[in-house]
């Protein structure tokens, strides 16, 4: 009887298809990236090994550093501004009884839409002459702003659109954690005379710290791989002001055929993402372990 579960034919039949796909699209491609990252391959001529030349080039490539900086903007904007707002709105929604369903459903809605369609929709709102924002500014006699065309505003405009799309998704995650907390703790605190604000900051937020930590992790990961919204709204422009690492890499590969360089960039992006994750795990996330209720 024990042998039923020790059937190598079934075992490999169940494991190999996934493993083959995984190997092909993750491991093999990762190895090609690493391999070609050290060459000058441009898909037309055979590749030559060039050592660390691509990486040196990347370090001297000011355009790439602008892209890195923009990714960091994304990261800071989502962690420093969005996460507190997300927690605030989650607390508000968890505290109301009436209309809770409506809030939960509505705020989540943008997250199910495609980033590219949201990019088009917001591009329409940002239109320099006929878009909503400049119409509203016009009511106050303020000069129209070229939201996506002005290097000062383009990045900010994309960040706002990105926040509009994703905040609800995280709110729903945190809300679920709040609603699954044992009610007794909060009730006991209320009887002891704690105000709603005190209960939120001293009881609820510490208790949901693990899920807030997950949301911060997801925001960091999201900021590192952002690309669609940039390609659709500005394609990195004006003058590279909204270029992020991934869009820069994609453009180097597909537009200029610099495949070797693009693959070296992808290794750098991977390395930066690993370092950020590790730093986060060893500093902030570690301190939050061991919360029990």
């Amino acid at each position: 009887m024990k042998n039923t579960l020790k059937n190598p034919v079934v075992y490999w039949a169940f494991v190999l298809p996934s493993l083959a796909l995984y190997f092909l699209f993750f491991i093999y491609t990762l190895l090609t990236s690493i391999g070609y990252g050290f060459t000058d391959w441009n898909a037309l001529e055979p590749a030559h090994y060039t050592g660390f030349a691509n990486f040196k080039q990347a370090f001297d490539d000011s355009d790439f550093w602008v892209a890195v900086k923009n990714n960091m903007f994304f990261l800071l904007f989502s962690v420093v501004l969005q996460v507190p707002l997300i927690v605030f709105f989650s607390l508000l929604i968890s505290g109301v009884k009436r209309l809770q369903g409506l809030y939960k459903t509505t705020v989540f809605m943008p997250s199910i839409l495609s980033t590219s369609i949201i990019g088009i929709l917001w591009g329409f709102l940002y239109h320099p002459t006929d878009g909503l924002f400049n119409k509203v500014l016009g009511l106050f006699g303020i000069e129209p702003v070229s939201w996506l065309g002005d290097t000062k505003w383009a990045m900010f405009s994309i960040l706002v659109t990105n926040a509009w799309q994703w905040m609800g998704f995280y709110i729903v995650l945190i809300l679920a954690a709040i609603l699954s907390l044992p009610k007794e703790i909060n009730e006991a605190a209320a009887i002891d005379g704690a105000t709603g604000y005190q209960r939120a900051t001293r009881i609820t937020v510490p208790l949901i710290m693990p899920i807030i930590s997950v949301v911060i992790m997801l925001s960091i990961a999201g900021a590192m791989r952002v690309v669609d919204i940039v390609l659709v709204m500005t394609n990195g422009g004006p003058a590279g002001a909204t270029e992020v690492m991934a869009s820069y890499m994609v453009n180097q590969g597909t537009r200029y055929g610099e495949y070797g360089y693009a693959m070296a960039l992808s290794i750098l992006i991977f390395a930066i993402a690993l370092v950020l994750t590790a730093v986060y795990q060893f500093t902030i996330a570690k301190r939050q372990e061991g919360i029990e209720y």
Partner: protein
């Protein structure tokens, strides 16, 4: 502060947030029913003077939104279904079948995939797809979408399968079920909640994917909705009512579906992530 006011303040703040979410949609719907750019421009938030449905006919005929829509639907559904099926079979073998050392190694190997941010491999995947000779076919999206979901799906489904009590399968084996029978008739039905979560996450990811579909597919009739709509915008950049109609066409089916399924979607997403 009187209780009534204290109870109202959260609603005021939250309704403002709801307005911020809904106003862009309202503007797009109103604009899609307006006759000209001039009317859109003069009162962006105003209700159309007269409902002008011609845009809808025009967009449906010119924009091929229906073609993009069904391409997206077919690719997202099949890749999500294939991913869930492959991952659950693998998770079953890794967690319930008795090749413990091999399973441990394979599991660790697959976990490496979770460390790699999706876009990093884009250029090499592009080359791979080109080498396989499937560039510009639906296979160019089906394979990477299915493969891309595998690490996360195996991780989540494995965690769920480990919690199924061993007595259940022992009883089934005594009753004469084979290992594949055990998978299809006992374990798979028991893990449906986890499978639904994984399916929804993968499906939404595929439905919204832009980068691969933009570069791997160039034939218009094979394009998915996100890429098709960008092409449509670029072609009719100066006709706001028409672009808005395109947006309505591409958003409406998803929003309607969401209205029906929102409970399941929200629960499915939260069930998997909260007890982390």
């Amino acid at each position: 502060m009187p209780a009534a006011i204290r109870k109202t303040i959260p609603h005021v703040v939250l309704l403002l947030y709801v307005a911020v979410i809904l106003i862009p949609f309202a503007i797009v719907v109103f604009s899609s029913l307006k006759e000209s750019n001039a009317e859109v421009a003069s009162h962006p938030l105003g209700f159309p003077k007269e409902l002008f449905f011609d845009n809808y006919v025009k967009a449906w005929k010119q924009a091929k939104i229906n073609v993009y829509f069904f391409n997206s639907l077919y690719i997202s559904l099949s890749a999500a279904a294939a991913g869930v099926l492959l991952a659950s079979a693998t998770a079953f073998a890794l967690t319930r079948m008795k090749f413990l050392r091999t399973s441990k190694w394979i599991y660790q190997f697959v976990l490496i995939g979770m460390l790699i941010p999706g876009n990093v491999l884009f250029i090499s995947q592009y080359i791979l797809i080109q080498k396989m000779g499937i560039l510009n076919t639906h296979m160019a999206l089906l394979l990477p979408y299915t493969a891309g979901a595998i690490p996360f799906s195996i991780l989540l489904i494995s965690a769920f399968m480990r919690s199924v009590p061993a007595e259940l399968e022992e009883a089934a084996i005594v009753d004469g079920l084979s290992s594949q029978g055990l998978f299809f008739r006992i374990i798979l039905p028991l893990t449906v909640p986890a499978l639904v979560t994984v399916f929804i996450i993968n499906y939404l990811g595929n439905w919204n994917e832009y980068l691969l579909s933009n570069f791997f597919i160039s034939t218009d009739s094979l394009k998915t909705l996100p890429t098709g709509m960008v092409g449509f915008r670029d072609a009719y950049q100066t006709n706001y009512p028409l672009i808005c109609t395109g947006i309505v066409f591409s958003v409406l089916p998803v929003v309607v579906l969401y209205a029906f399924l929102q409970k399941k979607i929200i629960e499915g997403l939260t069930a998997g992530s909260v007890k982390g």
